[in-house]
């Protein structure tokens, strides 16, 4: 846990160089792995960003700066994702599309989940935030992913997600599995049942068990 506190400290100083160097040092010295970094350090750091300032506008600004630093850190981790994949001798079994619904701007969680899929042997395409709705629906039968993972942070976007899932059911190949996740469902688990998804995922373990079914079938 000491790494989390140290990282938070660096983040509060908004020191990007130090943050990247600190994380890369953790990974290269095997003090933690990618999943551990995402789960125990980066995610809590993002969720725990407290702002004691009275002026809410400065708070929002600080949040954006810190999120940008974490984003750089996550991107820098990709070589370690590949390294871990090689070490595990995992083959690529399938294809996943990871996205956020239109108007959803909180995409870092989805970005991390894309790496989880890769670690589980699924080739993940991270489409990013604010996915153009019609373009994605139009292309989904050509892409033919095994999994579509949708990350929702703002609970308002549950509305469009519900519609997105309903449209995917009509357009996507029948074996495409739909997974939902994100803080909108963490805050109120009742909201999960409101969407006709196949799976709800919160942790790396959830992704692992969801993908393992496909993995066993294709091995």
């Amino acid at each position: 846990m000491e790494y989390y506190e140290k990282f938070t400290e660096i983040l509060e100083k908004e020191n990007k160089k130090e943050a990247v160097e600190f994380v890369l040092e953790l990974l290269s010295s095997k003090k933690t792995d990618v999943v551990g970094l995402y789960t125990e350090i980066l995610t809590p750091a993002l969720n725990g960003m407290a702002c004691s300032l009275k002026d809410k506008r400065i708070c929002v600004w600080k949040e954006h700066v810190r999120t940008a630093i974490v984003r750089t850190v996550v991107e820098c981790c990709y070589p370690y994702v590949l390294e871990q994949l090689n070490r595990q001798e995992t083959k690529i079994y399938g294809k996943a599309v990871v996205l956020c619904p239109p108007q959803e701007h909180h995409d870092l969680g989805a970005r991390m989940v894309a790496d989880y899929f890769v670690l589980c042997g699924i080739d993940a395409v991270f489409v990013g935030s604010d996915t153009p709705y019609d373009d994605f629906i139009g292309a989904v039968d050509i892409i033919a992913p095994d999994f579509v993972a949708i990350s929702v942070s703002n609970f308002y976007n549950i509305i469009v997600t519900k519609k997105l899932v309903e449209d995917l059911r009509k357009k996507a190949p029948s074996n495409t599995r739909i997974i939902i996740g994100g803080s909108a469902f963490v805050a109120n688990s009742e909201n999960i049942s409101k969407i006709n998804a196949d799976y709800y995922a919160h942790t790396f373990e959830d992704i692992k068990s969801i993908t393992s079914v496909l993995k066993e079938g294709r091995e």
Binding site: F155, Y156, I158, I159, A187, N188, E190, N191
Partner: protein, 229 residues
């Protein structure tokens, strides 16, 4: 949490020869002190739903229960009293009386019940006008105010009798984004300060996403009902 407002099996059908079902078996309950938004496309029946909640319109069938009492059992005068004391309305088109000044408009709901305005009440009205940022124009004629000012006056008017419920139909529907933000913050502030229950129809996602609960109405039915927490 107790429910301040409940709707049971609400149906609303317009027309006698060609029947149009505007609301289809709506069941909803609202917790006291909650901040709710209702979204839906135009013609989805959301305004009708709000008018039924506000006792302005009557359902074709079903029950409206306010504070545990079925309003079907109330007389017309009792309904007027409920609207006067327990419910505050904010409409898209502010609906101020052009014959009165801003402050007089704010005081109207009080005067409907009590006749004369006491000094304390006048001060309270001025206080609400200050709360909505209009203390400088209280004596302006309502027609000589901007749309945003009129809407904020209408909000102050909705507050004057300390209602338990405020029903708002597109309160920021014809306002610019700055005024929208001001009014949303104002409503949220009132919700926290006085524990007033808010039910707001909006097509503005910035307002809807800040509510505790979003209800989506599609073709007269509840398509989605989600809570933030």
């Amino acid at each position: 949490m107790n429910n301040i407002l409940e709707l049971k099996n609400i149906n609303k059908i317009y027309g006698s020869t060609i029947k149009t079902q505007v609301l289809n078996n709506i069941n909803l309950s609202f917790e006291s002190g909650s901040f709710n938004s209702i979204i839906g496309q135009s013609g989805s029946g959301k305004s009708t739903l709000l008018n039924i909640m506000g006792t302005l319109d009557k359902p074709s069938s079903g029950e409206v229960i306010i504070n545990g009492i079925n309003i079907a059992r109330m007389t017309k005068n009792r309904l007027s009293e409920i609207r006067n004391k327990s419910i505050g309305f904010v409409f898209q088109f502010h609906y101020l009386l052009p014959e009165f000044t801003a402050l007089e408009n704010v005081l109207l709901p009080y005067r409907i019940e009590n006749g004369a305005v006491t000094k304390e009440m006048r001060e309270k009205a001025v206080e609400y006008m200050r709360l909505v940022g209009l203390e400088k124009v209280i004596n302006n004629n309502s027609t000589k105010m901007s749309g945003g000012q009129q809407q904020r006056t209408a909000i102050a008017r909705a507050l004057i009798n300390n209602p338990q419920i405020i029903l708002a139909d597109e309160p920021t529907g014809n306002l610019d984004s700055n005024s929208t933000e001001t009014i949303y913050n104002l409503l949220r502030d009132i919700n926290e300060r006085y524990g007033t229950t808010f039910i707001i129809i909006t097509h503005d996602r910035h307002i809807a996403e800040k509510a505790d609960r979003i209800i989506e109405i599609t073709d007269g039915k509840i398509n989605l009902d989600i809570k933030k927490q």
